[in-house]
């Protein structure tokens, strides 16, 4: 139990230690801690915001996808309808064309047949005239008897 110079030294050491802690230790530990705390809070807030944004983006992507799918469906349906239409159109056009061709062919045939008949008739007429001329042994005046001959030919 005694008091001596140690007391004064102790107080001086203590004062220096307080000064050192106040100057170099406390602010340099607490400052960065608070800064880190702030950054962590910021990071968490940013993460929350990012998550929210992601959710929103996902929702919008889904709606865009749905819309696109719907539109694609519509387009496919339209295309199918168009294809059917074109096919029907082509089929009917082809049928018509066929019918037209058949009709034209019939016409041609009829025409050819008529012409052949005509030629045949003329030739038969000519042969008949030639035969008659031979029979009569005289030249028939073709011009004079043309009306008669063509009438005859028409009868064939």
């Amino acid at each position: 139990m005694h008091v001596n110079l140690t007391l004064v030294i102790q107080m001086a050491v203590f004062a220096v230690l307080i000064w050192f802690t106040m100057k170099f230790v406390w602010p340099m530990i607490l400052g960065p801690m608070q800064e880190r705390e702030r950054r962590i809070a910021q990071g968490l807030a940013a993460a929350g915001k990012g998550e929210e944004e992601l959710e929103r983006a996902r929702a919008s992507a889904e709606s865009i996808l749905r819309e696109a799918r719907e539109r694609a469906g519509v387009i496919v349906e339209q295309a199918q309808r168009g294809a059917t239409e074109i096919l029907d159109h082509a089929r009917s056009a082809a049928t018509q064309e066929g019918q037209r061709l058949v009709a034209a062919a019939h016409e041609q045939i009829e025409f050819d047949a008529a012409r052949a008949k005509e030629q045949l008739r003329q030739q038969v007429g000519a042969i008949a005239v030639a035969a008659a001329a031979k029979l009569l042994e005289r030249e028939i005046d073709a011009r004079a008897h043309e009306a008669l001959l063509s009438e005859f030919a028409a009868q064939l």
Partner: protein
């Protein structure tokens, strides 16, 4: 047994004697120095300041990385001290929190020296020729009063700074008894002054003696437990009772050490909290 008594007394006395430049005979003598207290105080101060400064250097450069190991530990202490200060003091004084941290860590380290086996360092000191060594600065009155008086001076300083010299004097003389009547008030002034002075002066004394008493008693228990095997020394190991005593001493020392671990922490904590409270009171206006 009678022959052993001087040995026991000498052993205890040895553990109560400081390493001084000369023997101190009077209660107060400012030409005497306790070398051991000064040495261990400064050593522990350097340990505290050095390790915390090391962390501070690392902390300021690593805001973006997570703290690890010792840095986490130090940051935990700093944050805890900060919350303790915030609970009591709401002002802007930038001294109180670092002061509280310094006190808690330094006093804790003082007290922790108590857990070093009582004879280890004194016996080592004897091998280099030092007759005495007291390793726990908080069992030196100078050590504890050095802290409490510094806190006391800071309290007075901030009281005067915040409230002005007249405000401080008023605080000492106008409470707890006051009256509207000027004459009665004048009569109350000396009474108040005596009461308030005692209150004021009791603070550093109680602050220092509470810590001193607890740690001194703890050290004393360790010393007394060491007495169990003192008489027999190594010769005691030849008998069963010698082994029994040694085992008993080891067990009791361990149990007391665990309990003392709690005491040294609580005492450091109390010293810190009271310091915060006293300084917070110095900033309060009545």
């Amino acid at each position: 047994m009678a022959a052993a008594k001087p040995q026991i007394g000498g052993y205890i006395l040895e553990h109560l004697t400081f390493l001084t430049n000369k023997p101190q005979t009077s209660l107060v003598n400012f030409t005497v120095i306790d070398y051991d207290t000064v040495f261990f105080s400064v050593l522990l101060a350097v340990l505290f300041a050095g390790s915390f400064y090391w962390v501070a250097r690392r902390a300021s450069g690593s805001v973006n990385s997570a703290p690890r190991g010792f840095q986490s530990f130090v940051e935990m202490i700093v944050e805890w001290v900060d919350s303790q200060v915030r609970d009591v003091y709401h002002g802007t004084n930038r001294l109180i929190a670092p002061l509280a941290l310094t006190i808690f860590c330094w006093v804790y380290l003082f007290n922790f020296m108590d857990l070093v086996p009582v004879d280890l360092l004194p016996d080592l000191a004897k091998t280099v020729g030092l007759a005495h060594l007291k390793v726990v600065p908080s069992t030196d009155l100078n050590g504890v009063f050095g802290l409490s008086l510094t806190v006391f001076l800071l309290t007075i300083f901030y009281s005067i700074k915040v409230k002005g010299p007249l405000g401080f004097l008023g605080e000492l003389t106008l409470h707890p008894f006051s009256s509207k009547n000027k004459l009665v008030q004048a009569l109350f002034v000396p009474v108040n002054f005596v009461l308030e002075s005692v209150t004021l002066l009791a603070r550093p004394v109680s602050l220092a003696l509470r810590l001193f008493g607890n740690i001194f008693a703890g050290e004393m228990i360790f010393v007394l437990l060491a007495l169990l095997t003192l008489e027999h020394s190594y010769a005691g190991l030849a008998s069963l009772s010698g082994w029994g005593l040694m085992f008993l001493q080891a067990l009791l020392t361990f149990v007391w050490g665990v309990f003392h671990l709690l005491i040294i922490t609580i005492q450091a904590f109390i010293f810190m909290v009271l310091t915060i409270v006293y300084l917070a009171m110095a900033h309060e206006h009545h």
